[in-house]
């Protein structure tokens, strides 16, 4: 069977559930390398998507840490049934209180409530998790911070975006004159590093400019409170506040 053409092998393997895939990884090196290839992962996700769409509304860490470790439970926003429960194998998680940043393409992103720079990514299907490196320090006197998470199909990468807002009332022209600088930093899972995408004055006031642009090279980070649209080529950032979120 191994002499079948690659496209057929991929066709077969992409039909398998994640548990079977994890086992198949152990069969031989060639299976392992196929299953770990990023284009295969995309194919597999596409095929499986309809059967395991995740709409987690709420993540509740059970606080009996001593006995069960840090257990994570994901519930469906439709019927509130538990759709996923997992004991996190993350010694790094300092706080049991976690909040969801977002979920996209099968990956969950959450952060610690008490320290928003502690951000974790979790793949519920493979049960793999990762703490992302902390972003560079915020500019002094940052008065609020937004986090967003999304899948960038252009580069086949997962990205976390952090927007830091300097003091002031957003949209005020007076602020721009005062050189208030809002910072947008983007973490790429592929590079495993942060990049400062742009530093500009008063980006929160520019949301009108980009609200209508949804070209193919834009991607959006969404959570319940806001969405951030990043245009890869310009680069151009728009933050659409659904509710003002102050920390």
């Amino acid at each position: 069977m191994e002499s079948l053409p690659c496209n057929i092998i991929e066709e077969i393997v992409s039909r398998l559930d994640v548990k079977s895939l994890m086992r198949l990884k152990c069969a031989s090196k060639s299976w392992l390398s196929l299953i770990c290839r990023s284009d295969f992962i995309v194919l597999h996700l596409k095929r499986q998507k309809s059967s395991r769409l995740l709409y987690p509304l709420y993540i509740h860490p059970i606080d009996d840490i001593a006995r069960h470790g840090n257990s994570l439970s994901v519930r469906s926003s439709e019927n509130f049934e538990e759709i996923y429960s997992h004991v996190l194998n993350m010694v790094d998680v300092k706080s049991p209180y976690l909040t969801l940043v977002g979920n996209d393409n099968g990956i969950l992103c959450f952060q610690e409530v008490t320290n928003c720079d502690m951000v974790y990514l979790l793949n519920p299907a493979t049960k793999e998790s990762k703490r992302i490196p902390p972003p560079p320090a915020c500019p002094p006197r940052t008065n609020y911070t937004l986090y967003g998470f999304g899948y960038d199909s252009l580069t086949n990468d997962f990205k976390v975006v952090k927007v830091s807002k300097r003091p002031g009332i957003h949209g005020s022209s007076q602020l721009r004159d005062n050189k208030s600088s809002d910072q947008v930093r983007v973490y790429s899972l592929r590079r495993n590093s942060w990049k400062t995408l742009m530093t500009t004055s008063g980006i929160f006031s520019e949301l009108e400019l980009g609200s209508g642009s949804s070209s193919s090279d834009t991607f959006t980070y969404v959570n319940q409170k806001y969405s951030v649209v990043v245009n890869g080529s310009t680069p151009y950032v728009v933050v659409i506040m659904i509710n003002t979120y102050l920390i």
Binding site: S3, L16, V18, R23, A27, S28, W31, L32
Partner: protein, 163 residues
Amino acid sequence: MSSSSTTTTTTRLLMLKASDGVTFEVEEAVATKLGAINNMVEEEGSEDLICLPNVNGKFLGMVLEWCKKHANNNTNSDKGNDEVNKWWDKEFVMDLDQNTLYHLLMAADYLSGTELVDLLTEKVASMIRGKKVEEIRETFKIKSDFLPGQEEEIRKKNSWAFE
């Protein structure tokens, strides 16, 4: 009363010639279930004899048998057709041995029989699903080429999948 018999157009018959010289006479509507043949037929002035040097008679016969069933079941638009096709597909793949499955897959892929490829790849997937690593290796005659310790490491990392 309009009778359908008055409008019968003679269905075009194609001759398909396998690698071992075996020929099959099939209706165009049956053979064109295969993308590759459909493309050849659509070409202007195509011949009625089509040589298929990559498939031998045994497997071409099986592929055409599948096409015939599906073409026949699709001519009348009964709702039960899907069910019939599903039942028939199940029968078709039920007792296929690995060697036959392999050659059928190669033939279906070569002839661009997308639906048949779907059916056969799903059959192979079902032979992997839920199986132990050792069973998969045995079924597909795979030899582990990991260095000592490598396999254990992967198992440990994904231990939940082996519970």
